[in-house]
Amino acid sequence: MESNNITINGNTLTFEPGQTILQVAQKNDIDIPTLCHLKNTIPTTTCKICVVEIAGRTELIEACATAAADGMIILTQSLKVTKERRKNISRLLASGNHNCAIRGFDSQDWTSFQLGVLKDDGKEDLCPVWGDCELQDLAYRYQVKTLGLPLNGCKYETERANPFIIRDFSRCILCGRCVKACREIQVNNAIEFSNKGADAKIITKNDAALKDSDCVFCGECVQVCPVGALISDKSYRDKRFKDTQKIRTTCSYCGVGCQMDIFVQDNKIVKIDGADVDLPPNNASLCVKGRFGYEFVASSERLTQPLIKKEGKQVPVSWKEALDYTAQKLSEIKKNTGPDSIGVLTSARVTNEDNYIANKFARAVLKTNNIDHCARL
């Protein structure tokens, strides 16, 4: 009888034919770190962090791109694996401008090191995703210092020529997740890899700025970027270290009903991400409106007081006055010209609970069936 079993770190696990070692591990809560893997896309194998050791093979292999085969005996944390991961993390740290605190410095002069960092950075703050960076996390976890590594500058300038996405090529590790997100998840086909080796870069068609490209600013690339190469222009800019609450809810734009996580600081939305990759209906994707179109919530133009038109002009009044007046007017009209001289437009924008109450209000209180909403418009 055919069996589908592999052993990872001494645990025998079954797999479905076609599953990769990484998928089997993830399904069984065995952690194999990776910086380039993106669920539901074809592996790029650019980061080489997910390497594991297979009994009987001298070469380490990439767990993200290797199918599980019956009888495989796999080690995910052997000395050999750890050494290789450290080497690869080190390579990625050296590939660009990763001036976070885990970086060592090769002279004994801290000041000149800092000046060097600032010069390469071209700005005075540290990396904007400090503390929220998968590369930094791994460097810390594997205790990789970059002592002796040169500080690499970047020949490509940071792009800020659009309202939503900052592209800082100096921090890009060319993992390719953004390309996968753009081409295989959202299928907007706006970005791709260009060149090889030292000149490699993620580009749009003709290397135009995002705003002049096929980019539709869905921001999926920002969401999957493991480092600080793609960041939202708004998020976490000033108050990164403040308490942040994360609330899961449903998007309020079109009828797809995307599940999203709203990040709140000081009662203000600072960021919105797609929810879990396994959660329908959107599997963590969002569009430009859902991800970035939240400024209306905290807009200074929000209505904040009830208004009543008096002598042709709307004036602010108390809730009591507005409610009393409305109830009195509606009662009058209902009595004088009948319930069907009143109509209610409920809303496709408000909750089921709001709509139900509007339906009850029209039929049970006003006693009319004149209730509708803008489904047709």
């Binding site: 659009n162 959202q186 539709v216 609450q245 309020s252 734009y253 079109c254 009828g255 797809v256 009903g257 995307c258 709203i262 709140v264 959660l279 329908p280 209906p281 994707s285 969002l286 430009v288 409106k289 919530v297 133009e301 929000r302 904040t304 208004l307 038109k309 809730w319 507005a322 007046y325 109830a327 009195q328 007017k329 509606l330 009662s331 009209i333 319930p339 069907d340 009143i342 109509g343 209610v344 409920t346 809303s347 496709a348 408000v350 909750t351 089921n352 709001d354 709509n355 139900y356 109450i357 509007a358 339906n359 209000f361 039929r363 049970a364 006693k367 004149n370 509708d372 489904a375 418009l377």
Partner: protein, 528 residues
């Protein structure tokens, strides 16, 4: 939608019509685009060459307002070639003979004359649809916003039933809901003729049931007015008062000139909203309400999935929840309405709504559930009509093509069609508060084909006056490869150049939906 959004990715053939999917349902469009990546076939039948066409096997271009003709034409071909699903027709449907008789005259040549679609293309799509193991139809307002909107929808249902593409994974007839909770508003009885779960108000059992549950007497058995007729009755002086929740009819209604007069004629206009809008400006009372990020509750998405909405931030101090405002007024009018919170309201909904009966907030804490969900052990219903249709057998409606209410002529030589764009939403009250969206899409535009622009002697950026028999606006011309000669597209978001000044308020007789997708206009240069 009869099927789920995830299902689209598993369809073998995706037929998109009357939907600018990538702009109006971007995340859903990805499911269709990924299906294409996997080798599945997508066909677009639409008056505009919208962006999803780049992923399509073929784009077929019908003249606006000729959908019944091409759908009948597809069915004609399918029946002629014996590709219909005989077993499905036999077991699951009735009135097939009448349909067959009606579509008999819709030969590819006849259809070509009405629609402009060539016979070979029509054959290709018809065969692909009929032969696909699972074929889905995705449609949107391009199908419904016509004087024959209801018949358009029935025709698509005919096509799907004819090929047995309903009631199975990857198939179905799938209207894409344009607003976050259109589905829920309909489910909750936000319609003139039905209570929650679509039980008719003139059904005595339903009405008496609600009278008992709500402890009232004398509820009306007469179906009420749909929005479009309320506006007309206000115009005529019969409707005295309108209570509006979170809508902006003075940008979204057809023929705004008429709508403004109608609303101005009201004795008492009340509005609950989160912003000042064109409509709140003329209201007698305005109540400040909560927005979605400040509410606890539920929305029901396009695939009938009931999902949680959670409070993320505190609302402005003086605002109140929409339901709370209504309760306060009801109580003052002598009918006490009081709830401790939205969850208590949802429990009442579940108790009184068969399709929501098994849904609780606890059950949808992590993941939403598709209605119908008749009890708390039921997992929900991702796919409708798997064993039978709501009425039992699926009924084939034999339908003939009818032309739009207003067609181009010498004075108004272009067809106008309206819709949305990626960066804005409806009347823009929300999206236009985000600077970045305004930067990406700052103003209204008049989308025109290169040939039409050339004939006018104008180019992108030229200011033009667009007028119809009902009104006029000024906006910049935008030459686009999406446009086809003779058809102009204008987004309706922008109050400053509101496309609905131009649109025709002629209604579909059943759904009372206005014909936003076809009216006649002329274009003139604006001299500075």
């Amino acid at each position: 939608m009869t099927n789920t959004i995830a299902d689209i990715e598993d369809s073998d053939m995706i037929l998109i019509t009357g939907s600018n999917t990538t702009e109006n349902h971007p995340v859903l469009s990805s499911f269709a685009k990924r299906a294409v990546l996997k080798g599945k076939k997508l066909y677009l039948i639409d008056p505009r060459k919208v962006k999803i066409s780049e992923h399509a096997e073929k784009w077929l271009r019908p003249f606006p307002g000729t959908d019944i003709a091409w759908i009948n034409g597809m069915m004609h071909i399918i029946i002629k070639e014996g590709l219909e699903n005989k077993e499905f027709i036999e077991n699951r449907t009735e009135n097939f003979e009448a349909l067959k008789e009606t579509v008999e005259k819709y030969t590819p040549e006849y259809v070509g004359k009405i629609t402009g679609i060539n016979a070979q293309d029509l054959h290709e799509v018809a065969r692909a649809f009929a032969k696909a193991p699972a074929a889905t139809i995705l449609y949107c307002m391009g199908i419904t916003q016509h004087t024959c909107g209801t018949d358009n929808v029935k025709s698509l249902a005919n096509l799907s039933m004819l090929c047995g593409q309903l009631g199975k994974p990857g198939g179905g007839v799938n209207p894409l809901r344009g607003q976050n909770n259109v589905q829920g508003a309909c489910d909750m009885g936000g319609l003139p003729n039905v209570f929650t779960a679509y039980r008719p108000v003139n059904n005595d059992d339903a009405r008496i049931g609600f009278e008992k549950a709500w402890n009232v007497e004398g509820m009306s058995a007469a179906p009420g007015l749909p929005v479009t007729e309320m506006v007309q009755k206000a115009y005529e002086g019969e409707l005295k008062s309108l209570y509006v929740i979170g809508e902006n009819p003075l940008v979204s209604d057809p023929d705004l000139n008429h709508a403004r007069k109608a609303l101005a004629n009201l004795e008492f206009l009340v509005i609950q909203d989160i912003f000042e809008t064109e409509t709140t400006k003329i209201a007698d009372v305005v109540f400040p309400a909560f927005c979605f990020a400040e509410k606890d509750g539920t929305f029901t998405n396009s695939e009938r999935r009931v999902q949680r909405v959670r409070k993320a931030v505190q609302a402005p101090e003086e605002a109140k929840e929409d339901w709370e405002i209504l309760c306060e007024i009801a109580t003052r009018m002598g009918y006490r309405m009081s709830y401790s919170g939205s969850n208590e309201i949802f429990k009442e909904i579940s108790a009184l709504t068969p399709s929501y009966k098994g849904i609780t907030w606890e059950r949808i804490e992590k993941k939403g559930i598709h209605w119908p969900c008749p009890d708390e052990t039921h997992a929900g219903t991702p796919i409708l009509h798997t064993a039978q249709f709501t009425r039992g057998l699926g009924f084939f409606h034999a339908i003939d093509h009818t032309p739009p209410a207003e067609l181009p002529d010498e004075n108004y030589p272009y067809i106008l069609t309206t819709g949305r764009i990626l960066y804005h939403y409806h009347t823009g009250t929300m999206t236009m508060k985000t600077d970045g969206l305004n930067i990406l899409s700052p103003e209204c535009f008049v989308e025109i084909s290169a040939a039409d622009a050339k004939q006018l002697g104008l180019d992108s950026g030229s200011m033009v006056k667009v007028s119809s028999r009902r009104g006029k606006i000024e906006a910049k011309l935008k030459v686009s490869s999406k446009a086809v000669d003779g058809t102009i597209f204008i987004p309706f978001h922008f109050a400053k150049a509101a496309a609905n000044e131009l649109t025709n308020a002629k209604l579909d007789p059943t759904a009372k939906i206005p014909e936003f997708k076809v009216c006649a206009i002329k274009i003139e240069p604006v001299t500075a």
